[in-house]
Symmetry: C2
Subunit: 413 residues, 2 copies
Amino acid sequence: MEAEIITIGDEIVTGHTVDTNSSFIAARMTDIGIPVKFKTSVGDTMEGMEEAFRLAIKRCQIVICTGGLGPTDDDITKRAIVKVFKRNLIFHEDILKEIKRRYTARGVEMPAINQNQALLPQGARFFPNKYGSAVGICIAEDGRIFVALPGVPMEMKQIVVDEVVPYLRSLKTGQAMKIVKLRTTGIIESKLAELIVPSLKLETGVRLAYLPSPRGVDLRILAQGDDEEQAQQKALTLQRYLESVCGRYIYGYDDDTLEGIVGQLLVDNDKTLAVAESCTGGQLGMAITSVPGSSRYFVGGVLAYANDVKIQVLGVDEKIIAEHGAVSRECAVAMAVGVRRLLNSDYALSVTGIAGPDGGTDAKPIGTIFTGLASARDAYAREFHLGTNREYNRSRSVYTALELLRREILDIQ
Amino acid sequence: MEAEIITIGDEIVTGHTVDTNSSFIAARMTDIGIPVKFKTSVGDTMEGMEEAFRLAIKRCQIVICTGGLGPTDDDITKRAIVKVFKRNLIFHEDILKEIKRRYTARGVEMPAINQNQALLPQGARFFPNKYGSAVGICIAEDGRIFVALPGVPMEMKQIVVDEVVPYLRSLKTGQAMKIVKLRTTGIIESKLAELIVPSLKLETGVRLAYLPSPRGVDLRILAQGDDEEQAQQKALTLQRYLESVCGRYIYGYDDDTLEGIVGQLLVDNDKTLAVAESCTGGQLGMAITSVPGSSRYFVGGVLAYANDVKIQVLGVDEKIIAEHGAVSRECAVAMAVGVRRLLNSDYALSVTGIAGPDGGTDAKPIGTIFTGLASARDAYAREFHLGTNREYNRSRSVYTALELLRREILDIQ
């Protein structure tokens, strides 16, 4: 069984929206051992959708599409489905009742346009939608399964997790696949390869991918086997090899995030954290607090964008800024020490730098970043020279700061 | 001329990476009037790539693929290209020299593996890569154009903007297309439709799409015409209609962002801004400072995650928290007033709420958010009831706060 994922919408093929739906669905399919062979995107045209649907049900047994199920007029997915599968649309009283109930509960009258949402292709089963009015649609025909889901990510995700995955899992047989991701940071792709390649031996059915991002480089192992145990064994063999050659750069596995790992280390050690941010403007705090339950260790922080804030709120000595500049090792240390004292935390991280696109000088070009760390026993900062892209520099800065703390807590040199 | 975009990589079809490359390329194609008919993603397998390449050059005149051009062994795109186009790989001395020069400039010796990067399919032209070692490859054959680009977003983007777009523009003729996006916030999709649909008339070749996101709902006009003037005229007619029925919700156009618009309003009025964030943990500051030049108006802020920080740094009265809770209208107002005073800004925004997944109560369920605003003349807060998804709630909170300030400055009720 292989799957194709089709995402529908002019907003996708015109590039106005990044398609995150297909990667979410692909990850869930991968988890249950259904390889995704193709992902396709088409605009809101009957012709493009028909072509994509027909091709997909020809080349894959499972087809999952998202988008175009909304109540507004541009949503024509259902019409394309009934055309390809030669079925009529049937009105479902129970679906309409449920939608009405939902609006009533929120104290709002249901907009009349939502009546369209109760029309389904004949013979289709439907998957309830907890967060919206567009239910999922599932047609099984000639050993093929065609699923249509709404495009709103939150609604799509709920239906996939609660309905589609259990349904497909109940049908599935065949080859097993194991995926393991080793997440590294603080080393570039080609340097990693220099550590890995010399003694690397790949068994049949095992693939290794290097996936660079501002967070670091992920090493992804994809192992296929006749059964789950074989696939797992092959993956484990490669994993152990990779850990032996580049373990110190590995901060986590699979869905681990550096912010989650650092958070867990703080919980385990019963320590608290505060931040002082200049060029990242809140992104470090945002990353830390993206972890549910981060209030157990994250106290808060100061966004010291203007120098006045560095001096008056964080207590950075004016002379440091006058002599070394706000983008300096000395200032990064003073910011971390200052916020640690102000917010009374065990650890403090700071970031100051020139994110770009303006503000660079010969001595301190764009991409010059200092991340600082203060603790009860020490305070220091590291200097980085990143690129010229503002967004990239800010993201990289956040992860270099978090990595600084991971290494401090784990005492990795 | 229609285009197909192919993104390559196991990380994409397994869902471990969100494909942002194809939307970037699609947006640039749309800008120059080349409609993207399909987007396809395949894994790092020779078979899948070959099938995707052959299908794409059959159904579209322009094919742009990204990924799999790196120096590491999992990158087999070039091998698939020479197979489909029946060509050999030729070594290019000049490309290798340039890569070596780049490493030398950074004071690093070139890893030997990068020699692969100097191999190109026979007869292909290449597009230089300013940020990395993988050059872009372009093959023109039988009226079809096939372009292969590296998958690292920063490198891909540079080559698309500097090389691919000018090259394709020089070739292009045919139908014109005009896209206008009207960006709204503070109103849900079905309510917008109720304003728009009653008197809506769409000319031939004109489509309207509703694109909801945590930021708000974008209204996208896509108008096709025989020439640029006709396409523009059709788009403008619809735009004027939409402005007449829902103008107060429109904060900007096309690539405008709410944070950019608010920033410009602050610059125009010579005002400064500070923030106090609880549940957003830095995301509001991050959004504001994602705008280059935001240091002209953004002073800084306080991440008041713990109640102690609200009380001791922002000066929120303990009684407010004891009586109304940290998630309350009163606390949001006090946070905004407090940070405005502390950082001496003209305006201040605050956010406090229950982002989830934990922490909800019957009186204050998950998704209860207060955004506050303080200025010289006033201080107030608004209450919102969002969903149960942490990420969504945090993003929506940021945009409701920014919209509060936009309406304050523009005096929109």
